[in-house]
């Protein structure tokens, strides 16, 4: 039954040391970046730079959102890693045979992984948010900014959870498509941190790319979902609305997991 398979997936995750190592990284990653952004965004703006359009002054809401979601990049990188490892370590350590022997319906196994990863993404998101909200609120308070400018902050927090869960699914898809776990981790993190920002930057100089492609890149869509302070100069891309961005990210997750599942069902496990 589906419930059994999901429980099995949760057990797989919480019976290795990975889970608490990642939990610590999530918590302190969230806290650290919240502190840094909390200090940077409450600096006195340089009026000349603002006038030239090189510096954007955020509203208190944007500042609070930015501080609380500052660790999101670290966070979604880590849930991406979790997603990759939830399947990648099964191939690496060949436990995938035992998995499919106890549950021969492979689609069910993959669905169970999807559900478990959404849950794990949410749990780790909460851990990260506790770190960043506690640390961020202290810093904002200390620097005279409003730590809770309005209920919209809660929405940004809830959407961060969604983002973290979706990135875990993107990881699952990547982990299936690149069966070598180490390669999958390197490629995924490399794309998310280096290739994609470079591509976004390069596309910014091409009018069509800036208007029609850039905001569909996964990390741009992620930023659009949580709506921080828009950075960048006049050629920066305009972000999508939060729900369109969420759909874009969900589409990445869905396509990658679906293609991965399709491959897994057909594969010989030997």
């Amino acid at each position: 039954m589906m419930v059994n398979s999901i429980r099995s997936e949760f057990l797989k995750f919480f019976t290795t040391r990975l889970w608490w190592g990642l939990a610590i990284a999530m918590f302190f990653g969230g806290a650290l970046f919240a502190v840094i952004l909390g200090i940077v965004l409450t600096l006195e703006p340089d009026p000349e730079a603002v006038a030239r359009g090189q510096q954007v002054v955020g509203t208190p809401l944007q500042v609070a959102n930015s501080v609380y979601t500052a660790g999101l990049t670290i966070g979604y990188t880590l849930t991406l890693v979790i997603g990759i490892m939830q399947i990648g370590s099964e191939y690496r350590h060949k436990t995938v045979s035992s998995t499919f022997l106890s549950t021969p319906r492979r689609v069910r196994v993959m669905l169970a992984k999807v559900v478990a990863l959404l849950g794990i993404g949410a749990i780790y998101g909460l851990i990260s948010l506790v770190g960043s909200v506690v640390a961020g609120a202290i810093v904002l308070q200390a620097r005279g900014a409003d730590p809770f400018p309005g209920p919209e902050v809660l929405r940004a927090l809830a959407l961060s959870l969604l983002v973290l869960g979706l990135w875990a699914l993107i990881g699952l898809g990547v982990g299936i498509l690149i069966p070598n776990q180490v390669a999958a981790l390197l490629i995924a993190v490399g794309v998310a941190w280096i290739i994609e920002p470079l591509a976004g930057f390069a596309l910014g100089f091409w009018e069509f790319g800036r208007d029609h492609i850039v905001h569909f890149l996964p990390s741009q869509a992620t930023n659009a979902i949580v709506e921080g302070v828009t950075q960048g100069g006049s050629n920066a891309a305009q972000p999508l609305s939060w729900w369109a961005a969420a759909l874009v990210l969900a589409a990445y997750a869905a396509v990658l997991s679906a293609v991965g599942t399709w491959r897994t069902v057909r594969q010989d496990i030997s």
Binding site: N4, R7, L11, T15, S89, K94, T95, T103, R266
Partner: protein
């Protein structure tokens, strides 16, 4: 369904099973049946296609053609697979960072089985304390026992073990033998693969022998054994052979100057030698020569040994794969 004695055991049927990897045929039109209440040895040299066959039977590898069923159904169509079939595959691996007990808990959860069952099996396979350590530190014997515990979680009617005595010490092999005997006396169907006949010879009732992916022999071990012989060494084998012929006992010269006599009666051979005035330097019952038979049936044509006189030529990259497999053989 699993507790009623009448439901114990189930027949395994393999029909025209074929698997090709590219242009290489690993399993070729294989057909055999495994009966309940008996231990069947699935034998063949390394690379013969045993693991591939078992993986097809278990739905892990998709066959190119043919069928493999357990109790009339393909593995993937069995509702509660763990209570029908328990299996431990050759390369059964465990996450090195997870304890053996947790590994079983993961599997038990997937099948909706209680945790108490996990501890029961750790007790039964004799590793209750060790299973709390992380699996990365396990010896091969320990892994085999844990694999066996995993296979038995759902109290299955059919047990499929791929090279279970690999890495076991003689003590472990004896333990395994008793354990399998006990399980088969409950009426379970047991299929055990091995690349060494002598390892399972005393354990199994039936054998299915394959070579180069094809069936070469199927039947009861007792049928395979043939007539017993006696091994005798003397100063003049030809003269002794003549004296034996007079006594109506046939014999033939062995490969090393000895005489192989077609009888189990050591005393008769000794008496004949005494009457012929010949010294007896060595006299013993020769083990029924299953090993030689096995060798004859398989090794001579093993495609993996590069002696491809009668075997289909294996592409060179296949040897690389085999070499890799040799590491866990």
């Amino acid at each position: 369904m699993t507790t009623a004695p009448a439901a114990q055991g189930a027949t395994i049927e393999v029909r025209d099973l074929t698997k090709t990897f590219g242009s290489f045929t690993a399993v070729d039109q294989l057909t055999f049946t495994v009966e309940p209440g008996r231990i069947t040895g699935f034998l063949g040299p390394n690379g013969a296609g045993k693991t591939t066959t078992l993986r097809m039977l278990l739905g892990l590898v998709h066959q190119t053609s043919g069928t493999a069923t357990i109790d009339g159904r393909a593995y993937g169509d069995i509702d509660h697979p763990q209570s029908m079939v328990g299996s431990a595959l050759e390369a059964t691996n465990f996450h090195p960072g997870r304890s053996g007990r947790d590994h079983l808990r993961v599997l038990a959860a997937a099948g909706g089985l209680p945790v108490s069952r996990v501890d029961e099996l750790l007790e039964l396979t004799g590793i209750p304390a060790a299973a709390r350590k992380r699996a990365g530190e396990y010896s091969m014997g320990m892994r085999q026992r844990l694999g066996l515990a995993a296979a038995l979680l759902g109290d299955p009617r059919v047990l499929i073990l791929d090279e279970p005595s690999n890495g076991l010490d003689p003590e472990g092999i004896r333990w395994l033998r008793g354990f399998l005997r006990h399980l088969s006396s409950q009426g379970k169907t047991i299929l055990v693969s091995s690349h060494q006949l002598q390892e399972v010879e005393q354990t199994v009732d039936d054998v299915v022998i394959i070579s180069n992916g094809r069936l070469v022999r199927e039947g009861a071990v007792s049928d395979l054994r043939g007539a017993p012989t006696t091994f005798v060494r003397t100063s003049d084998p030809a003269q002794l052979a003549g004296a034996l012929r007079v006594a109506d006992v046939m014999s033939s010269p062995g490969s090393d100057g000895e005489l192989v006599v077609e009888t189990a009666d050591l005393r008769l051979v000794g008496d004949v030698a005494l009457r012929a005035g010949l010294p007896v330097w060595e006299l013993r019952a020769r083990k029924h020569d299953l090993e030689a038979l096995f060798f004859e049936l398989t090794e001579g044509t093993n495609r993996n040994l590069g002696d491809g006189s009668s075997a289909p030529p294996a592409p060179t990259e296949r040897d690389a794969v085999t070499g890799q497999e040799g590491a866990n053989a």
